[in-house]
């Protein structure tokens, strides 16, 4: 029953998002035919292009046609990119960039945040704690695009360690592709690391004040066991919630970094599609993005009972 409810609400959210995207684009001024023809357009050529794209049909017909296609697994074809490329393929290509990038960034930030947060909590009020908190504050305040530009100038242009953008295909050059993702993943990871470090630290401090910690210490358990086994494993519950939200933000919110590093990811695809009023492409990409976000949420829900067996009893 719980699962059925969960699934139904997921499907309803997807449908709602698709209607809202459709309406939002419809209400924006500018139409794709005008954007295709630019400053050479006149009434006749506009009419011809609208007719070829099916834009002369009423909005409800356009939406229902789109929905019918999606139900059959067909996202249709884009206006902007050649009509021979299906939207499914365009979105799939973009996910080959965005998913490794988001995953890399989140793994990187967890890898730094957990030890740093734990360390800071263990030395509460000490010099190390202050230094870590200072960097966490700085990491939060630095804008990603600025850091990205600096990182490109130093690591790509000056040192030549990484390519300054334009990622090759995974199949053609896997090492090159991975190399192009390193700097953007670090840039994306930095503010997330900052947030997560503070979360881990706070959660650890709270946990360390619990009675069972005092009991453990009292019966002579080694301090490392207290911190890692009893403390950290409980602090991770709060951390996983925040990390999940961060991951969701990363799937949808890498557009600035994708733009700075010229990565052909989902954010850039949606942005260019909106600017060109490429309705089916926006629809398809937003739909897939929403589906991913919902799935991540769902998986997180499944993760809680593993981290905290008490939740299982509530289910």
């Amino acid at each position: 029953m719980y699962w059925a409810k969960k699934l139904a609400s997921m499907l309803f959210t997807l449908l709602l998002v698709s209607v809202l995207t459709f309406l939002a684009l419809f209400l924006l001024p500018g139409d794709p035919a005008m954007l295709i023809l630019g400053t050479e357009a006149d009434a006749r050529s506009l009419e011809l292009v609208r007719n070829q794209l099916g834009l002369d049909q009423p909005i409800t017909t356009q939406y229902l046609n789109w929905l019918k296609g999606v139900l059959q697994g067909d996202f249709g074809e884009s206006y902007t990119f050649s009509r021979g490329y299906s939207i499914a393929k365009l979105v799939a290509c973009a996910l080959h960039v965005t998913i490794p990038l988001a995953a890399g960034a989140i793994v990187l930030s967890l890898a730094f945040a957990i030890p740093l947060g734990t360390l800071a909590a263990g030395r509460r009020g000490g010099t190390l704690d202050k230094i870590i908190l200072f960097f966490a504050q700085a990491g939060l305040s630095i804008p990603a695009f600025w850091l990205g530009i600096l990182a490109i100038q130093f690591f790509a242009v000056y040192l030549g360690w990484f390519p300054p953008g334009n990622m090759p295909r995974w199949a053609a050059d896997p090492l090159g592709a991975a190399a192009s993702l390193v700097l953007p993943a670090v840039v994306l990871a930095l503010p997330r690391t900052a947030v997560l470090t503070r979360i881990v630290r706070t959660a650890m401090l709270e946990t360390l004040q619990e009675d069972y910690i005092r009991t453990a210490r009292g019966k002579g358990v080694a301090e490392s066991t207290v911190i890692f086994k009893h403390g950290l494993s409980n602090a991770l519950i709060a951390t996983s919630t925040v990390a999940g939200i961060q991951l969701i933000q990363l799937v949808a919110g890498t557009v600035v970094v994708e733009q700075v590093f010229s990565l052909p990811g989902l954010g850039r695809l949606i942005l260019s599609a909106v600017l060109l009023r490429d309705l089916p492409l926006v629809q398809g990409a937003v739909f897939v993005g929403t589906a991913i976000v919902l799935t991540v949420n769902f998986l997180l829900d499944c993760l809680y009972p593993i981290l905290d067996p008490r939740i299982k009893e509530v289910w």
Partner: protein
Amino acid sequence: MRRLISTGIVVMFLLVFTAGCSSTQTSDSAVVAIPTDPEGFHPHHSVAAASGEIAFNIYEGLVKAAPDGSVIPALAEKWSISPDGLKYTFTLREKVKFHNGRDLTAEDVVYCLSRLIDPEISGKAVDFAGVESIEAEGNNVIISLQAPNAAFLALLTESGAAVYPPEEEENLFTRPVGTGPFVLAQWEPNSQLVLEKFADYWHPDLPKLAQVVLKIIPEPATAVNSLRTGHVDLIPRLEAEYLHQVEDAPDLKIIDSPMNLIQLLIINNAVPPFDDIRVRKAINYAVDREEIIEGAAWGMGSAVGSIISPAMDFWYKDLTGTYPHDPEQARALLAEAGYPDGFSASLHLPAPYPLHCSAGEILAAQLSRVGIDLNIQVVEWGTWLEQIYTNREFELTVVGLTGRLDPHTMLNRYQSGSGRNTSNFSSQEYDELLALGLQETDPEQRVAIYRELQSILAREAVNVFIMDPNQLAVMQENLQGWNNYPVYVLDLAALFWAK
């Protein structure tokens, strides 16, 4: 020990990453940075500029544009025009092959051009409305016109007039098949296009490179960094604001020339107070073009006084002296028109074009000195096209209009009732002379007519024609053979590496 292991891991990582980004430059290939994906390669349906500039290397028409803007033979080896200007006879080059291996025939040309002029199929049919018939006769293609049209040959150089094998019609969007020097071998949307040498190209010496990779890099800063680190060999159109990052680089060179694009302040001639010629003249006197060129284009542009670019010097009339920068005169004219204290108006600027936005900001400061207070609104391109270009709900806007090879297609923007007449200009004298220009077959007379049309636009102070910004092509020092064209194409066939 532990330290040793961690150092080892770091070194390994660095090795892996540096190996991944070593330059792939070889002597027979080049990497070119372009800002956007083409929209597809069907000559009759893909009309975006980004498609046309690449398609130039894949398809050919009967004739094509040369770097100096003249019309030169392509698939047609030669042509003749009947004395009355109505009949064009094109003789096809022998043994021209399509990329699919088949020989080009006159019937293929007739098929493609007939679709181009069919308003049910092609958006470009409007330009070809005066074509009476297109016929094949042996190795000749004969095109008859209803009335003489001196712009006709130049129209045939445009990307829509490309010839492709009819049997490939279905897949042309993503798998273009033409007769050009390059074959499209791969297209990864949002990432790159790979052009490979067509071995059976009719010109024995072209193309010189075996492969050209077109990388899609929307951010100019990334393109510049890629060029400086050797990941890219050529940026055909660099924004002037990035010039300082490359001009002192020892391994790079810049080729610049007027790009045949007119940046102008479009004035809506139909709304008050701009329906008063004295107000329009006042604005013209108030503008200091040199200051705009210096401030917005870093000095890389030529001042113009006409909708025709100096790049088209055959047709161009230098009218920059009509309204010299004279704020006193501007204030006097405003007072005469009943605005001694000036007035306020709105200025719309297109967000994706920093060149036009900066120019608009400088222009607003200049106009404020004569009492015209401009309220600047930066709008997104889609909004600009609908609200300003199509619906003409605006007072003033700054934009760039791309030049064509023939002046008629530029000058007919000011024809009464034209769908492209954003300025709402209307003059019977102008319309009549424009019609006359199309029918005139004597080249000298025709030039005189087009120069007179430009004079009318200046005399009526229809718009403020600001500048033709330079096309800045930046490339590796030893890359040779690049030409800037006065039309929107990338000519990749002549590129080669100096030894």
